[in-house]
């Protein structure tokens, strides 16, 4: 017998938290792929540590999403059910987080883009009307600062490094740039969160993100690429072909052995 999937409430506050929690979770999963494969031991350790922070943040946010769902009259799903028993279309992470890890330059650029975004978002969420979320944010913000500093250093080091490293960072920027736009696309779920004080519209963070991102790119000898009309749609559940494979690996044990624990 295998474990059946669960369905999640469409309540905007729950969806808002799933976007955040799922992005942390899938980003953690991708980052953890480097464990045992990073180009040097210090980076192996650093990436594993950052993945752990992200898993911790995901656990806290998904737990809170389940609690809000219950308060709003839905089922009381816990963090494990939310992570392991939802289907691909019910994940709300940014498409950016699920893209294959690529080379080290690609990983560091994505880490930098997301850490910069998370730093700005957690800063706002520290003042969330939801005290529990504000508490999670206070803790996560300290971690995001370290992640941003670490990955930003690498973007500069590679971009301003050898011809090979600079070419790789440039290639990473060209392939990831179209996916950054989705972070700052706002919709009705963001509007509800802003109205209730749960959290900001992600679009509000765009200007600050761009300033910090451009500053680091400048130090790395790179320029912001031109914006393009392409929009990825992971936040609303329409994912790239890559998420299914992550979920197959991540969810396999709970699906095959329902409720199994360590």
């Amino acid at each position: 017998m295998t474990q059946a999937s669960i369905k999640i409430s469409r309540e905007p506050s729950v969806q808002y938290l799933l976007r955040l929690g799922d992005t942390c979770l899938i980003h953690a999963q991708r980052t953890a792929e480097w464990c045992g494969h990073a180009p040097l031991p210090e980076e192996d350790i650093a990436l594993s540590n950052m993945a752990l922070d992200l898993v911790g943040q995901a656990r806290a946010v998904l737990t809170r999403a389940g609690q809000l769902e219950a308060q709003l009259g839905g089922a009381a799903h816990d963090e494990d059910q939310l992570a392991f028993l939802r289907e691909e279309r019910d994940f709300r992470n940014l498409t950016l987080a699920e893209l294959p890890r690529g080379d080290f330059a690609m990983t560091m650029l994505r880490n930098f883009a997301l850490a910069t975004f998370f730093k700005l978002l957690w800063t706002k969420l520290e003042r969330s009307s939801d005290a529990e979320l504000a508490g999670i944010a206070g803790k996560a913000l300290k971690e995001a600062r370290y992640h941003q500093e670490h990955s930003g250093d690498w973007v500069v080091r590679l971009g301003d490094g050898t011809a090979e490293s600079a070419a790789r960072m440039k290639a990473a920027l060209d392939s990831l740039w179209p996916y950054f736009a989705e972070i700052f696309e706002s919709d009705a779920i963001d509007d509800e969160a802003a109205a209730s004080g749960l959290g900001p519209r992600w679009a509000e963070l765009a200007a600050d993100w761009r300033t910090e991102f451009a500053d680091v790119l400048g130090a790395a000898g790179l320029q912001l690429p031109a914006d393009r009309p392409f929009r990825s749609t992971g936040k609303s559940g329409r994912h790239s072909e890559h998420l299914g494979y992550i979920l197959a690996e991540m969810q396999h044990l709970q699906r095959a052995f329902p409720g199994g624990v360590w």
Binding site: N49, A51, L52, G138, L141, K142, E149
Partner: protein, 174 residues
């Protein structure tokens, strides 16, 4: 009817026992000296509730710490004991006791300095200040450099001393 004095003595004993519950990843500093035990209260049901704050969101030692606290207090006859995780206000290394910092140093880990108020300005990369040099825990030299911001655990950074050639860890101020 439990007297006020009896409650006070029970709480005092609880704090004394917590002094002996060590952090599993730095097994020389107690959870009390680490500053993660925020409160101990007697609850309505007559049990003890220990309020603990996590160090890092993903710290894998959290569950072990919870279990050690419950075990230590229940073995000390103070049960039933419950651990409550409270995230806010977020843990800071400023809550580490002086004794805890001394024990870290003796163990070979450079203790965290005071946490500086984080800058609200955007992160700037050029020019970038280097981290202030730490004194090597073995030879006291200031000729040290940071190798990596992350060490064997999330709470520590890797450093090395160029004078004596030894690597060492730094408990990051956060």
């Amino acid at each position: 009817m439990v007297s006020v004095a009896a409650v006070a003595s029970r709480l005092e004993r609880a704090w004394a026992l917590l002094d002996r519950v060590l952090d599993p990843e730095v097994p020389v500093v107690s959870v009390r000296d680490l500053g993660i035990v925020r409160d101990v209260v007697e609850d309505d049901a007559g049990g003890l509730t220990v309020v603990v704050t996590p160090t890092y969101s993903g710290c894998p030692a959290t569950e072990v710490i919870e279990a050690s606290i419950v075990a230590a207090l229940e073995e000390g006859g103070l049960g039933p004991v419950r651990v409550e995780m409270r995230r806010a206000p977020a843990w800071t290394t400023d809550w580490m006791s002086e004794k805890g910092k001394r024990q870290l140093r003796e163990y070979g880990i450079v203790p965290p300095g005071p946490v500086k108020a984080p800058s609200v300005a955007p992160l700037r990369f050029v020019p970038r200040p280097k981290p202030v040099a730490l004194a090597c825990p073995r030879c006291e030299s200031l000729q040290t450099e940071r190798i990596a911001a992350f060490g064997a655990t999330a709470c520590k950074a890797l450093w090395r001393c160029t004078a004596c050639g030894e690597p060492f860890e730094h408990f990051k101020p956060i």
